[in-house]
């Protein structure tokens, strides 16, 4: 009995922290989304579902949600395509180069989000180094307008999310028993066949983890879309902030945030469900 109490006690501080700084505020948000709006105060006394009706019913807000999810998918796919070869290499590189390569992969995270985005703004600006190089090489005759549009936002987000995709995949790949590659070759499988039938399936848990992580990060991105996209890229996070801070419509802002949350949970559940048959096969424990 005492030992069970003791284990519970050890977990208590963390649970308390989680409760106070996560569960409570989140609960507060959920509660707020059902409140009626009021002027001169965050919310009125009545309870209502009108906020959700507006969030889901109004085509404008639905468009923003779908656009956000779509951009999330785009960023995730691009990140995956870029990251998989990097992860493959990272999982195979010899110990000597391993740390160096690892540092390269993690490097986007070494700079804070504001500094990084200002860096991008400088690089792609009219007078910036990218335009200068392109002009000097003769590839263009006038500087390109590269800021404040979707492509630069996608590029910047992919750049910073690559480490989040590479590391889970590399870890999953490194856990694959090396003898399996020898076994596959000895049985007559070509390099491509071995990749398709052994490497790809066994790395899938890592891919799934990376995809979920990057998807969630992309649809909740705020600073990068605002700084590099200006106000032209209306994503959900910007919309929620506008409602909460701009228009001071806290209940509606909360409802929008919850809508995004639910959409995310649905998306992740779908992904997990689809991957379940293969995940069951590749689980490392019964």
């Amino acid at each position: 009995m005492t030992s069970r109490w003791r284990t519970a006690l050890i977990g208590a501080p963390v649970l308390a922290l989680l409760f106070v700084f996560f569960v409570l505020p989140y609960g507060e948000m959920v509660a707020m989304s059902f409140r009626a709006p009021a002027s001169g105060a965050p919310y009125g006394d009545a309870w209502t579902v009108a906020n959700y009706a507006k969030a889901i019913g109004d085509p404008f807000f639905m468009t923003v949600l779908l656009r956000t999810l779509g951009i999330g998918v785009l960023i995730t796919v691009l990140t995956l395509v870029l990251s998989y070869p990097i992860a493959l290499h990272l999982s195979r590189v010899s110990d000597r180069w391993h740390v160096l390569f690892y540092a390269f992969v993690v490097s986007p995270l070494l700079v804070g989000v504001l500094v990084r985005n200002f860096g991008w703004m400088i690089i792609v600006s009219f007078e910036g180094p990218l335009n200068q190089v392109l002009l000097a090489l003769g590839l263009i005759d006038r500087p390109l307008r590269l800021l404040f549009n979707l492509p630069i936002v996608v590029v910047a987000l992919v750049h910073v999310f690559v480490p989040f995709m590479v590391l889970p995949i590399a870890n999953a790949l490194r856990a694959v028993e090396p003898a399996l590659y020898d076994a596959s070759a000895s049985l007559g499988a070509t390099t491509w066949e071995t990749f398709r039938r052994v490497t790809l399936p066994l790395g899938l848990p890592g891919v799934l983890a990376g995809v979920i992580l990057v998807f969630v990060l992309s649809i909740s991105a705020f600073v990068t879309p605002v700084l590099l996209g200006g106000q032209t890229i209306m994503m959900m996070s910007l919309l929620v902030i506008q409602q909460l801070i701009g228009v001071f419509a806290w209940p509606f802002g909360a409802a929008l945030a919850m809508t995004l949350s639910i959409a995310t949970i649905v998306a992740i559940s779908l992904m997990t469900l689809i991957a379940r048959p293969l995940m069951r096969r590749t689980a490392r424990w019964s």
Binding site: E177, D182, A189, T190, R197, V198, L202, R281
Partner: protein, 358 residues
């Protein structure tokens, strides 16, 4: 022409010569074992044959044609690994059928061949299980089935029983041999377990430091080892200093040993006066109360080992020997006894290892 020919194989790993000149010829359908301790180069040799490692020098020929330029996926060899190397995300049947799928054998033919292979290793009922649901012995059977179902030209086994407990090792040993014989596949087996090697092999190559010390049938290796290293690796060994006094018949010599003389067999061409080591395996020695003939020894220790009494004795020349006697013998430590060597089963070995010293 041998089925598998290895000539002048060399491989270095940095400054270490892992394989320092290996020559072998294995006949078709033969069960050939590479026997030696860790680090002797036996696994590296096998991996060169499989194509996982490229040797620095030498040639490997199968059926007369060199396979050095052929990548492992086209050599058509079946490999059984020490830690099974089963694909964890595939069922037993899918594992066994992996090589067939790579050869574009599908449908009914594939199903049938997989079924036959599984029946051969007595695992048919488990064909839809995943590897992690199987015991070690079952996993190794799957690995064996997977290697033979493709009807390979060679079967390469890298210490396949090393990860299993003793009882399983005995059971699976016979299965491997039976399957190999039934299919008639030439097999190269790597192990450090001499009992396993002797029980299974048609011929054994004892390796040390990247070279072959001796090649022969189990009987030849055990009874006529070329040097002390081979003798002690294949079983309990007693050696006594012996000096050749003369050749009595071709291959039989009169030798002076432990203060007496005997007539013992040895390799041809030993000159009078040569110093050799007389090999006397414990089972070819007997001990009796002091009498005529034989060698006078003192009994140092007596240990009850169930099947008998294990005796350690010392000769007058301070050489030690070990043998086993029936439990009823009324001996006690300190006794002076007579040791008799069965001369027909003794053997005159080289005084030092031929080649570089250990």
């Amino acid at each position: 022409m041998a089925h598998l020919d290895i000539a002048g194989l060399r491989k270095s790993h940095g400054p270490v010569q892992v394989i320092a000149g290996v020559d072998l010829a294995v006949g078709s359908g033969e069960f050939f074992t590479l026997l030696g301790p860790s680090g002797c180069g036996k696994t590296t040799t096998l991996r060169c044959v499989a194509g996982f490692i490229a040797p620095d020098a030498g040639d490997i020929r199968v059926g007369g044609t060199s396979v050095l330029a052929v990548p492992p996926e086209r050599r058509d060899f079946g490999v059984v690994f020490q830690n099974y190397a089963l694909f964890p995300h595939l069922t037993v049947a899918e594992n066994v059928g992996y090589g067939l799928q790579a050869r574009r054998v599908t449908g009914e033919e594939a199903r049938q061949r997989v079924g036959e292979a599984l029946a051969m290793v007595q695992l048919f009922g488990l064909k839809d299980r995943l590897p992690r649901e199987l015991s070690g012995g079952q996993q190794q059977r799957v690995a064996l089935a997977r290697a033979i179902v493709i009807k390979p030209r060679l079967l390469l086994l890298d210490e396949p029983l090393a990860n299993l407990d003793a009882k399983l090792r005995h059971e699976l040993r016979w299965l491997i041999r039976d399957v190999q014989r039934a299919q008639g596949i030439t097999a190269i087996y790597v192990t450090h377990d001499h009992a396993e090697a002797m029980a299974l092999s048609d011929r054994i190559a004892v390796m040390r430091h990247g070279q072959i010390a001796q090649v022969g049938t189990p009987r030849e290796i055990y009874q006529r080892p070329s040097e002390t290293y081979v003798a002690s690796f294949t079983g309990e060994t007693n050696t006594l200093a012996a000096r050749v006094l003369g050749e009595v018949e071709p291959g039989r010599y009169r030798v002076a040993v432990a203060g007496g003389e005997l007539i013992a067999p040895g390799p041809p061409g030993l000159a009078t006066g040569t110093e050799r080591r007389l090999l006397a395996r414990p089972e070819n020695l007997s001990l009796s109360a002091s009498g005529t003939g034989g060698i006078s020894v003192r009994l140092d220790a007596l240990v009850y080992v169930g099947a008998g009494l294990r005796c350690e004795v010392t000769t007058a020349c301070r050489e030690k020997l070990v043998l086993q006697v029936p439990v009823q013998r009324p001996f006690a430590p300190g006794d002076t006894l007579t040791l008799t060597i069965d001369p027909d089963h003794a053997w005159l070995m080289a005084a030092e290892p031929t080649g570089e010293a250990a």
